[in-house]
């Protein structure tokens, strides 16, 4: 069975890859249904994951009298209500959209606000935990780039030397981001090659 999985993955990957390099070939005839199947499978996989989470994990907690069964019960109830709303109210319905924007957005935004305060609190103790040169450099970088990106140094636009210096500092995060992007691209390339050659088999679970 593992051999069959390997063959399917490699052949499908090669067909899609060759479609990139040789658009003139008639690979689109095969590539198109492959991609359609992948979209359908990903949708079904999401549905299976949700059903597993609700009816296997949380339903089991309620059934087994888990200490946190109340949260699981609320989750199941919310899930059923959302499904019912999605079925009886179409996605364009204002009521269904308000269900998302009035419930989901405030909750997640609150979590982000809590995260911001937690990060500030953790940063206060950065030198207490990491009392070394790297910790000290990190501390200075955090403070400096927070001030720089806040825009309060806009007056430096009138001072040529300082303007150029701060402009160079603005490029530091970009330089780091370029390095990250290069690393991501190389990592993606190597991972793709490993999957195509069978060295990496994420489909075996």
């Amino acid at each position: 069975m593992r051999t069959v999985n390997f063959l399917i993955a490699v052949v499908a990957g090669l067909i899609v890859l060759l479609g990139y390099f040789f658009p003139g070939l008639e690979l689109a005839v095969i590539r198109k249904p492959l991609l359609d199947w992948a979209v359908t499978l990903s949708g079904v996989a999401g549905l299976v994951a949700i059903l597993n989470l609700v009816f296997h994990v949380h339903w089991k907690r309620v059934h087994d009298n888990h200490p946190r069964k109340l949260y699981s019960a609320v989750l199941i109830l919310a899930f059923l209500l959302t499904v019912a709303a999605g079925v009886f109210l179409d996605p364009a319905s204002a009521g269904f959209q308000k269900l998302v924007t009035r419930v989901q957005v405030p909750i997640e935004s609150s979590l982000m606000a809590v995260l911001a305060i937690t990060l500030v609190f953790a940063s206060l103790k950065i030198l207490q935990r990491h009392r070394n040169w790297m910790g000290f450099l990190f501390f200075l970088s955090v403070v400096f780039f927070l001030v720089l990106n806040s825009g309060v140094l806009a007056f430096t636009a009138e001072i040529p030397i300082l303007r150029d210096l701060l402009s160079a500092f603005h490029q530091v995060p970009v330089a780091g981001a370029r390095g990250m992007l290069l690393g991501i691209a190389l990592g993606s390339l190597v991972t793709g090659i490993r999957i195509l050659t069978g060295s990496e088999k994420p489909y075996n679970g």
Partner: protein
Amino acid sequence: MADLRCLICNRVNDASAERCWYCRSPLPVSSDTPASDAQEKIPPSFSDANEELRTGEKPPDDAIEQSEEEVPEWLARIRELKAQEEQVSRQGSDRGPGADQPPEWLPNLSRGELDSIEKDQVQKALIEDQESGENASAETSFRDSVARPVTGEGVAAKDIEAFGDPGAADTTHPKSAAQGEQAAEDEAKKIVEPVFPIPVDDLPDWLSEEPDLIEKITSKAQKLATTAPPHDEDELEKGALPAWLKTLRPLEAVVPAASEQEIPSSTDQEGVLAGISGTLRSIDLEGRQINPALNPHDLVVTPAQQANVDLLNDLIHPASSTSLTQPVLNKKMGGKKFLKAFIAIVMLLSALLPFLNQSFQAVIPELFPKEVVDAYGFIQEIPAGKPVLIAVQYEAGLAGELAWASEPVIENLVSRGIPMAVVSTNVSGYAILEEQLRRAFTNDSNNQFEEKVINLGYLPGGTIGLISLVRDPREAVPFSTALEPAWESAPLENVAEISDFAAVLLLTDNPEILRAWVEQSGRAEIPPPLLAVVSAQAAPLVQPYHDSGQIRGFIAGSSGALSYQMIRQVPGKASSTFTSYQLAVLTAALLIFLGGVVTLINTAGTGIKQKGGG
């Protein structure tokens, strides 16, 4: 010493052998003549016999009588077999209308030891006998009888083939008939007896002299055949754990070790050492128990790992790592709670102050970022009737920032009357954006939301869904969220490919999504122009794509929105939100700086470690 070659099977045997090792035929008397020469000097009588078999002609009786005195034993046996074959063939030719039917004994073979292949061969040989005639039948039977090796099954098949027809035994030759009956009895006995790897009758002489062994073999085989319980196919056999698995079993599951068991010192009653006393006995492996090691997998923890464990323990249970007394701990915990509450209140006030006090003004940037200027310039050049595809993927938690950042851009599109199609690659994006678009259209009385906006809803599949959208947008998202054909409506009726959009405006907080759009939209024959509104945290990762020209422009966070609003010279919410943002960021920086300074002062005596890294 010269070897003897069997005259029947033509195989080489030892010179001391009396019978052929392979076909059990009598061997000629040993002489100094080489075997090859012996075959060349076949007596005339045997040559005649072979010639007779080939031609089917029978020599005159007087010739047989003349040579009978000189016939050796092996030749006599051949003649005897030949006579039996002739008798069988004659009987087969003399039978009546039922001769074509297989004899009654043939189906009974299925209950015997012959397998299906042997039965087919027997049946085929009999049918060929009847068809090909007397001489051909005799030759075939003779060849089969001499060519088949002498095994338990082989003997049975050969004899059945040679003496198979019971009707032949009672006709012409009484001797042959008696032999046939004896052969049939022997065969029936063999069929009843269970199969044993070594035919008892064919045991070598040195082994045949052991009467106890033969008796043991036969009795054991009979016992197996008669007393073996019927095997239920559905019943699974009880498995025995292998030794390596037994070692993994818990101690409670293991009975006292085998060393405590006493090994009887009596003589073996069976096996290869049966009857021999004083031998070293083998260990009863099945009954042996192996004690597992008490600590088979000792956990080795390095000092660095132990330090990480302690650090994690401190984070999870802050009070457990200190040796302070409970009142001191309570005081420290209270101080931490106070500090947390203080930070939260200060941050909240700094964010709310610009909204509470409108006179509070932030420091406005005097230089506009190039990416914002490029984005504004490109949007201004979009023809009024050409639609823009707005692709959304961001978490609901960042909806506030992205709503503020994208507001001036969307207002610009609405004011210019540009049609828009909305597609979301996550489940909540289209709902959040539609509400924002409706708000933007309420401020503009010249355009209606229903006329200018088509919501294509959620596109599943992530990057794969994106590929399908780039390849054929009409097929990827055929319906709107109102469940109507999306591409028949006025804003999109002229759009057949992704390149027919004036631009793709991407709203995201994740640079990975932007990268996927850059890569996949580049597959189109005419890639659509890309614009982006991103979170401030993604700005450094998006900047390289703008520098390389893969996206035409982008707006990052509140500062980008403020710049766009200032370029556009239209008042909006960006100025007030930017003030709040700027004040909160400065407050955070100040708190972190003060906290660091206080920490340095409090721990000044300990010094700074020389070793870098975390």
